[in-house]
Symmetry: C2
Subunit: 194 residues, 2 copies
DNA sequence: TGTACATCAGTGAACGCGCGTTCACTGATGTAC
DNA sequence: TGTACATCAGTGAACGCGCGTTCACTGATGTAC
């Protein structure tokens, strides 16, 4: 004697996580309320706790999902020519700078994550190391795990440049920051190993 | 017929801005309440609006002050040998990573600033371009304004690396990110100009 | 095949709390006499 | 010199509001008969 199709609740949960991804990146972790997050998914606030133990738990699940999406993107590019170069130029493009809610979760939320609970930092850390591994594979297909460190360095440059370009209100300086980010990554890859 | 010494209110205002700098970096712009900010300065909430028009106005004033402090630091180092190298190593040190409230305002607040009101973004943008000019002077004393762009690239690397090191919960990966930041900056400076 | 019913995803009002902001007031101060 | 007083920085209670969370309930569903 059961009621809904057995996958019904999973579908709803996924819908919440996906719309929460956009909302949290747009308004921040502190700036997004549970009622708003649920309304974005077409639900009311009361249903929230049937799906998540707390707001923190939703944030952790959403961050994991968002970083997983980044990995999917990186793996798609890995099959194409000039995948790494195209990724860097897309990441440091005016289009990505102006699309916070559809863009990289690290770029939108990194300093709030650093201030958050251990559960959220743990979800971020685990997810990001996966992203770094996929980025390393995209940079140098077939290279071993040593590439993770260089990939983390690339991520720091990408995220720092994107955030800085978003914060500056002068369009020329903002564009210059994006261009310098591309130059920095090229320089890092050309540099000799440690 | 006046009451307090004429500089009394200015002194109090400065005290509020200085303690707000630490609190805002520690708990974020959204995470710091007016009552807490005033208690940090040894006052009660009601006095706030005798000093500032709104919480936004305090944040803008505090960001301007914090970036000015960064400029003071850079100018001090400009008088010492290896000033730039020492700055980079201090910025990307475990000590700075672990001292959010006493550290760089960009590292603590950049993505929240990008989400904030035009007044706050304007204060940040103006202040940061000043920081970039002082950093350019520290990098290459006597060089003209062209160095500002390279300095902005350095700042993006510094801020991105610091934030990423703070967000990762594995101490080894965190330390590796700091080391990669130093390597990226060295590579950027060694790279040929545009 | 048609109907009664157990299930449970979702509703919406309510909880105590802290938010940014307002305001009537207090009381220490430096001046005027 | 001593005192009355105008000033105004600071107090603390209160405002409406949205927060995260709880809970009694509703009502569409698929199953059992």
């Amino acid at each position: 004697v059961a009621r809904y199709g057995k996958e019904h609740k999973d579908v709803t949960r996924r819908r919440i996580v996906e719309s929460a991804g956009r909302r949290l990146k747009k308004d921040g972790l502190d700036g997004s309320g549970v009622a708003t997050l649920m309304a974005d998914a077409g639900l009311t606030n009361g249903a929230f706790y049937a799906h998540f133990e707390s707001k923190d738990a939703l944030i952790a699940a959403t961050i994991t999902d968002q970083l997983q999406e980044q990995r999917v993107l990186l793996r798609q590019l890995a099959g194409e020519p000039d995948g790494f170069t195209r990724f860097v130029h897309g990441y440091l493009s005016p289009r990505h700078r102006d699309d916070v809610e559809g863009g990289c979760p690290s770029g939108a939320l990194l300093d709030e994550v650093a201030r958050s609970s251990p559960a959220i930092r743990g979800a971020y850390s685990a997810g990001l190391l996966g992203v770094a591994d996929d980025l390393a594979a995209l940079m140098a297909p077939g290279a071993p795990a040593g590439g993770r460190r260089t990939a983390l360095g690339c991520i720091a440059i990408l995220v720092g440049s994107l955030q800085l370009a978003r914060a500056l209100d002068d369009p020329q300086e903002s564009a210059a920051v994006l261009a310098e980010g591309v130059r920095s990554i090229a320089a890092l890859l050309a540099a000799p190993e440690r």
